[in-house]
Symmetry: C2
């Protein structure tokens, strides 16, 4: 998180007393940022972005635009026209938006662009435009540069708009580890325009839907029902047009995410899958596979009724999300759980649904339960290949792979 030395001056100090002199420094650093859904963000008449950049068009200012090169191709001209109209001089820093670009070196390159333009850190903003990767590396760069400069997020993917773009996390992958290095650093504002979704392909839209389903499962039964009613038509165009349903879905997903930053539902086993799947899975796809097995774990413990488990799996399938993956074996799950225990400090702390819309944490999952859960999902995978997993082997193959692992499950624990 960014702060300034000035905020620190609110420190409350004890008077030092011999023989052991000690001070207890206490302060509370304010975090304060806005998340705004607006339409026509790049229309000259829409002042939201200009205000975020500190411009009222009466005096010139500058900003550093860190933008996904693909997004620049689609929206670069519109952005340039917008900035010109508002007397904002953009310095462009094009970056790659793929997961492989989420490196410390790329974040450092962005800080070098700040140095090069001599950014004025109190008045000139860093504006990150793109998907989750761009949000992450630009956010990390902004939080590291001279210990923090203000930045604005404009997520252009559904995943960015309801997840990566609205939280306070930044991060990069390092070694074999996802998000190994990063900071908590809130942007000044996140500006969300669903119209960017017009240019997003369906697989990436579905990827974002996975996180919306997650939110529904862990804390919003009404959102779950709304999704059940509308999931079949929930494509890029519907979301981008932002009718009443789409608006409520986005709005509930965002509000849920802002309230619920700590819940890792669907993120226990998915990092291991995301790391190993070849061809690669999108984040939301891996999360979906994790959620499916988590639902099964909850079901088998009596935390989720059979009808509710079926509803949840059906919703995910209807959204076009994968429920299984050949790499997602019982052995992988057990190893992922071990890793999770390390990261969660000796406890499993696995979130499982307690009915639809609430979540509880468990610490005593066994290898045998993992195997039964994998089998539960496998039994429910229908023969239809979901569109988003088209590149994965056919379900028959998936089930065989799972079955093989199942018979080995005793060796896992």
């Amino acid at each position: 998180m960014t702060s300034t030395p000035h905020r620190q001056s609110s420190a409350v100090l004890d008077v030092p007393k011999p023989p052991d002199l000690s001070w207890h420094v206490q302060a509370r650093l304010p975090v304060d940022y806005e998340v705004v859904i607006t339409r026509g963000l790049l229309s000259e008449g829409n002042g939201v972005l200009a205000r975020a950049c500190g411009s009222d068009a009466t005096a010139p200012t500058r900003c550093l635009v860190v933008i996904d090169q693909t997004v620049a191709g689609l929206y670069g001209d519109a952005l340039q026209a917008y900035f010109s109209a508002w007397r904002i001089e953009p310095v462009w820093k094009l970056v790659r938006g793929d997961e492989g670009a989420k490196t410390l070196a790329h974040a450092v390159e962005i800080t070098e662009a700040m140095t090069e333009m001599g950014i004025l850190r109190r008045t000139e903003k860093v504006v990150a435009v793109g998907g989750g990767v761009v949000m992450d590396i630009a956010g990390l760069a902004a939080s590291l540069y001279r210990r923090g400069v203000p930045y604005i997020r404009i997520p252009t993917t559904l995943m960015g708009q309801i997840d990566a773009g609205i939280g306070v996390k930044t991060g990069i992958n390092h070694g074999q580890h996802k998000n190994r290095l990063g900071t908590y650093c809130a942007p000044e504002a996140t500006l969300i325009d669903p119209e960017f979704l017009f240019t997003q392909d369906q697989r990436h839209v579905t990827n974002g839907v996975a996180e919306i389903v997650k939110m529904a499962l862990v804390k919003d039964a009404a959102l779950f029902e709304l999704l059940e009613r509308s999931i079949r038509g929930l494509d890029a165009e519907t979301l981008a047009s932002c009718g009443p349903d789409a608006r409520e879905i986005l709005s509930r997903a965002i509000a849920g995410m802002l309230h619920e930053l700590a819940v890792d539902f669907g993120h226990t086993f998915s990092p291991a899958l995301e790391l190993r799947a070849d061809p690669p899975l999108l984040h939301g796809e891996a999360v979906a596979v994790d959620m499916a097995v988590s639902l099964a774990l909850a079901h088998n413990r009596g935390m989720l009724s059979t009808p509710d488990a079926e509803r949840a799996l059906t919703l995910m399938r209807s959204a076009g999300l994968p429920l299984t993956h050949p790499t997602f074996t019982v052995e992988l799950l057990a190893r992922a759980l071990e890793d999770t225990v390390k990261h969660r400090d000796g406890l499993q702390r696995v979130p499982l649904t307690q009915g639809i819309g609430t979540v509880e944490f468990v610490n005593d999952l066994s290898a045998e339960e993992l195997a039964r859960a994998v089998a539960f999902v496998a039994e429910r995978v229908i023969s239809e290949v979901p569109p988003a997993a088209a590149s994965a082997p056919a379900p028959a193959g998936q089930m065989r792979a799972i079955g093989e692992e199942f018979s080995d499950s005793e060796h896992v624990a």
Copy 2:
């Protein structure tokens, strides 16, 4: 600054309202850390360090000791014995403590050591032992690793004990820029044992004294008078023995630093000098040269009486601090001021003493004033070479260099 997602859950959210949906996220992240002066930190009977590492000797734990290789040579055995007595298994990470080692690559190496040992981030601490550079790179590593793990600082130099070790800043140099990248990230505790100073050479002690003099000049007239009385005997042994005067000096310097994190007195022109001086100056030496010219600027504006200016310069000289440097020309000062204006967002914001013990910020320094201030200091440099500046040319040379620049000063603005 480190935070956990849980803290974020205190966010206060607006209810979204159409047509422009927006949320205002507000939270206050607690900062809470201790600064403790203790003696015999490495004596087995002293539980301060063990408690900071989460050990009461009843159960084994681990820590990652990031330690200056020179300090490890001096205190490694004592640390190992202490840890063994308290059932703490240290993983050692030896690092260089020179300014050239303050790089991102070295901070990243420390995070890799955390990965390698599989540090448990809620219970196992990173313990940084050494001078300011070690505090900085270990602190940055701790704040980046998985978005922040708790760490403990044990500064072993005077500069570390009264400045770099007790604040919340971390940082590394990048490109030509000091502390270009970094974070605000408070340690859980800073443990200060003056006895470490027994093994510090006089030049480095004097280096730390510069920051104590700074503190006295900007906010503590009583500390200034205490320094005037005791400066001649204020060597490593006196400080390490921690008699009443030494204890009060350390204590006031630390309290002042904790209260006054925002004041950059002596840090306007010194970064440029520190970057260019060859042979290199220590940080405190460059700060001293900056403070001397800042005192002159204040004097020439009538903000500091002539006797007080003389007292301050005399104190610095008695401490063995340099007041001038051949590289510290009017041209350099003007360029440094330009840089500062960039960093301070278009304003000079130069802190100058308003009498001894208070400070005011000015925004209208002229090149002509800089030249007069340099001349003022030059006139007061006595022929005796201060011990700390023994490697610099003799004062006659210094004055000639300054005089040459002085005659050129009109070309600077």
